[in-house]
Point group: C2
Chain length 255, copies 2
Amino acid sequence: MPTQTPPLADDESNLISHKKNSIQRKNHQPQVACERCGLSCFLELFNGLPEELTHIFLSRQQPVPKGKSLFCEGQPFHGVYAVKKGGIKTYAMDSKGEERILGFYIPGELLGLEAITANYYLSTAVVLEASHVCWLPFNQLDLLGDYFNVFQEHLVQILTMQLTQQQHQFVLSARQSAEERLAAFLINLSERYAKHGLPDQLFWLPMLRSDIANFLGISMETVSRTFNRFQEKKLLNITGKQVQILDRPGLIAFA
Amino acid sequence: MPTQTPPLADDESNLISHKKNSIQRKNHQPQVACERCGLSCFLELFNGLPEELTHIFLSRQQPVPKGKSLFCEGQPFHGVYAVKKGGIKTYAMDSKGEERILGFYIPGELLGLEAITANYYLSTAVVLEASHVCWLPFNQLDLLGDYFNVFQEHLVQILTMQLTQQQHQFVLSARQSAEERLAAFLINLSERYAKHGLPDQLFWLPMLRSDIANFLGISMETVSRTFNRFQEKKLLNITGKQVQILDRPGLIAFA
DNA sequence: ACATTATTTTGACAAATATCAAATTTGACA
DNA sequence: TGTCAAATTTGATATTTGTCAAAATAATGT
């Protein structure tokens, strides 16, 4: 039976620090964890599968402190994660040994799927702020039995959707000007919040300015200045990590 | 039984111009089309499947003239393509109605996979120079019968690999300087040629300078100037679309 | 082979952005 | 709460890159 607590890779060393499997709670709440928190996440993967199977795989959400890594580049694949609360970034090392941010994951999103075939992780996932995640062990999928094929079909769906989203993402960030990139970045984030039923006009940036800069390929200072310019133009309000979009169409026009 | 000739979407209108199914050749050559041309392409998808099934799906490669589109954004999904010879670009329209290049496909590569779930194409695929392609009809996959699951498993593999490659791509092209982007672009192309057993030190750029510029988010003039600078530094030779990499480590150091 | 067109290169200049340094704000922790 | 470190903003300047225009080259069709 799969562990109910997600394994975490320490950001310091490369050790896998399995938390001890605390309590085997037999008294499940009537809802699966995913319904409980109101975010779909893994639900699409288990759609149409009997509930007892779902229960085996869906771990209750686990708190993860800021700075922890869920997995590290090169580490053997141990499963896929869903973000319930907070934010995660993934990065890989470039040829110069510099951290290169690949993506940000907000509540409702899945990460680690690329590792399914390679069987090891191709990026490192770091928790940006105190977060909650769910973990789906992929080494026990044989427990699904005849339902494996249904599961696989869902998997294909999710993978193609991610492919599409990444392409979209790519269009957004290979643009010329810093203004365009940042506007596109914010609109993209906002739409992703909306997708999971979270507020999309007033939301939170879980990452640092330098993370945004790294991700978009511009300097941190330009991020700061451009945010300011957007504020002066009454397109949005930014106080720290809190973003409020005031003129969505105006912002989209920039992107 | 699936058509053996790939459908082409005209770049002018949005009509699907099905070429008439020429001759039903019963006398198959002993090899499947894919083995014949020496490029894996679809083979991985049909690995482990009985050969007669493979034959139903694998069309002989078809010549496609420059400028033709294989599919258009929004058009219903009719299958996946493999490039045998030449080059393809895919693009989508951005919010300003401008063409935004999403990717280039060289011999041995598959395109159109993102459309599987959406059931319509999310980009337009245009042939950059006289090319040969194979077409895999996806609407007849029920002919696979019990083998469908094996097929699906391969599909998951290919999708995760593409996800990974795209992420990699992303790291390469969201970089700051034009030099870095172009060096990374060339190294990436070179590696992809190598992957399919094609020469990787002396290769061909099937796309225009303006396509490269669009893709990388820099200006055409900068592409030209940067290529020149690379030549002056003896990193490579470029004459027209012919690229010869002279100092691979040096180029990688830039990327 | 020629004329015509499309593509690429080159040059000059303006605009955008990176870089460096310092000041300010925010966040974390005792 | 106060203190320290981290993160962000701001300013000044140098560099890079985009833009426009023109020249050179390559490609295309007759």
